[in-house]
């Protein structure tokens, strides 16, 4: 009996350290691997992964934690990209332009937040899609056809710096999500996700919590757009407003696990790596494969890879328990 108790205690303490240790290792890998390998396509790959982590995690804050499935995420991404790029090209120091992009996205979010939050479920989803589309069409009508970096900017282009910015943002977004979950506000937000009416009945100020989640979500999405604008040498200014960015955020979060912290991280890695692989091997067909893969994941593992992982863990825990009982 004593022996078993001891093993259990050491197991618990081991488990408690496993997760933070794992995270630190992951971060260290993220910092040093690209530097070690130092190939253009690796820097690009890691950059894309970090960009998509921010994209997915910021959507996750609103959809996973507050339960509001928005299809207008591209609007924030687009505004962030637009504001950052415009200010930066006009001479504003990048750091200021970058933050402004995020802030602009939040301002827009707050403007449309109150009216659209009146809608529920499917209506909210298509309403946000509609808003994002209005923005996209207006942008594509009024903005120049292409936006290209100036000669000097291209000459001093530093991919490494851009990567570490993306990495920093990915960490910050996940950190913000984590803080939100640990804060006293978190119960309120989760309550809203589970059952809005019940939450309202228990005195939770539903709108305020939704707006809080929305402001964080839009801020980080805007910053992600800024990172994109910083990285792209030339692109169509209306491209960041494309609903494809929203769908990528959905894909990533859902594949990884909606409403979990690790979800968007795992999902982004999976999504970017698989997509790059498929694009290389099956040029014409890769989107089709991806779509089918995605459908399969939604049907079989609605909780995403995180749920799959949890299920595997449960099976192994059950096996262990059985072994312990047998050895008795």
């Amino acid at each position: 009996m004593q022996e078993m108790a001891l093993t259990q205690i050491t197991k618990i303490s081991f488990h408690r350290w496993l997760v933070p240790a794992g995270i630190i290792i992951l971060i260290l890998l993220a910092i040093f691997i690209p530097r070690q390998v130092d190939k253009q396509n690796i820097w690009n790959l890691f950059f894309l992964i970090c960009l998509h982590i921010s994209l997915g995690q910021s959507w996750n804050i609103l959809a996973g934690f507050a339960g509001q499935t928005s299809l207008g995420h591209a609007a924030f991404f687009g505004i962030g990209a637009l504001v950052t790029r415009t200010l930066w090209f006009q001479g504003t120091p990048f750091a200021l332009a970058f933050i402004s992009g995020g802030v602009a996205a939040v301002i827009f979010a707050m403007l449309i937040g109150a009216p659209t939050f009146r809608l529920r479920g499917a209506y909210f989803a298509i309403g946000t899609l509609g808003v994002a589309e209005v923005l996209r069409i207006t942008a594509s009508q009024n903005l120049p056809l292409i936006s290209t970096m100036s000669g000097p900017t291209i000459a001093t282009y530093n991919l490494q710096a851009r990567y570490y910015l993306a990495l920093g943002l990915a960490l910050a977004t996940t950190g913000a999500a984590y803080t939100l979950l640990r804060s006293p506000r978190s119960l309120g937000i989760l309550a809203v996700r589970e059952d809005e009416e019940a939450a309202q009945a228990t005195g939770v100020h539903v709108l305020r919590h939704k707006l809080l989640a929305l402001s964080l979500s839009s801020f980080f999405a805007g910053l992600a757009g800024g990172v994109f604008a910083f990285q792209q040498i030339s692109y169509y200014p209306s491209a960041p407003f494309s609903p494809l960015w929203t769908f990528d955020a959905l894909l990533i979060t859902f594949i990884g696990g909606l409403g979990t912290l690790a979800g968007p991280v795992i999902g982004a890695i999976f999504f970017v790596v698989v997509r790059e692989q498929l694009a290389v091997n099956l040029v014409e067909f890769h989107q089709v494969i991806f779509g089918i893969l995605f459908i399969l994941i939604v049907l079989v593992f609605p909780g995403g890879l995180v749920e799959a992982w949890e299920r595997l863990k449960k099976i192994s825990i059950r096996k262990e328990k059985r072994n312990v009982n047998i050895s008795k």
């Binding site: 209506y123 509609g130 067909f285 991806f290």
Partner: protein, 293 residues
């Protein structure tokens, strides 16, 4: 603006509205009965268009005649999609069902759009019938036969759908399932078969719209998203419980777009529809046509 050009704009708004209406009714059926959001609906419109294009270019069939092939073909596609994908989603409830149907249909959008691109290339296609330029000319207003034909068939289909839903048992079973699926089960209705038929019917309606689109405008694999959005706008205008109301709502959208486009300019014509859509969503979510189908 002269009376003539105003009427001309109005009439063209009617024509395009008819296509909007047919496209939207398909989506309204699926949403009203299965309570799912199929954002791959536009892709079904697109596939219908390619089917009619194929019938025209390979078999030499007139597009309106080719409906006899296109409709059953897309009906079968709808059956297949329901059996393989959507029947797993339809058994969920409420928000979860909506979320999952959004995701799954988004995956389907990727699959269908890129499949079409792979099979048909990204080139724009159009059907040029022999009588393409000809039409009626009433009071100075031109009405091309192609567009007139589209509107007339759209009207006939709507009337046919109305009869089917209200005066035949399979149709009434669909309406009953939309009202209360458990009560429908308790009346002896096999609701899974209803779901399958409804989805297939939605695909068939989409294919009709697709045929008209190919004749009227042109076709490419990427038009799906645009038509899904149009259909969504129309069903919000009609009120999401209304299936047949989607047709007049489609006409309304077409007319409003055409007229405002004439005044504000073509570039903002798309935005008008979206803005009206948002206003209706927020201010009058039950839609503009309150009442039954």
């Amino acid at each position: 603006m002269s009376i003539e050009s105003f009427l001309q704009t109005l009439v063209f708004g009617l024509f395009v509205g008819g296509i909007y209406g047919i496209a939207a009714m398909g989506l309204a059926l699926v949403f009203g009965v299965m309570k799912m959001l199929n954002i791959a609906h536009g892709e079904l419109v697109m596939l219908g268009g390619y089917a009619s294009f194929w019938a025209f270019s390979v078999l030499g069939m007139d597009p309106f005649v080719s409906l006899a092939i296109v409709i059953p073909a897309l009906f079968i596609v709808g059956l297949v999609l329901d059996r393989t994908v959507y029947r797993h989603i339809v058994r969920l409830l409420g928000e979860e069902k909506i979320k999952n149907s959004l995701l799954v249909s988004f995956g389907l959008t990727l699959v269908l759009q890129n499949l079409a691109q792979w099979l048909f290339t990204a080139d724009e296609r159009a059907i040029q019938v022999a009588y393409a330029g000809e039409g009626l000319n009433l009071m100075g207003v031109t009405m091309p036969y192609t567009r007139l034909g589209s509107l007339l068939i759209a009207l006939l289909v709507t009337l046919g759908l109305n009869y089917f839903l209200h005066h035949t048992y399979p149709g009434k079973a669909i309406l009953a399932t939309a009202e209360d699926f458990e009560a429908a089960e308790l009346a002896g209705i096999n609701i899974h078969r209803v779901y399958m038929m409804t989805f297939a019917l939605g695909a068939a309606l989409a294919s009709i719209a697709g045929t008209f689109v190919t004749v009227t405008y042109g076709l490419s694999p990427s038009i799906g998203v645009i038509w899904t959005l149009k259909a969504l706008i129309v069903i919000v205008l009609a009120g999401t419980g209304s299936i047949l109301g989607a047709f007049p709502a489609g006409i309304l959208l077409g007319v409003v777009e055409a007229i405002s486009g004439a005044f504000i300019g073509a570039t903002y014509r798309e935005v008008i529809g979206l803005v009206i859509f948002l206003l209706v969503l927020i201010l009058r979510p039950q839609g503009l046509f309150v009442g039954r189908n």
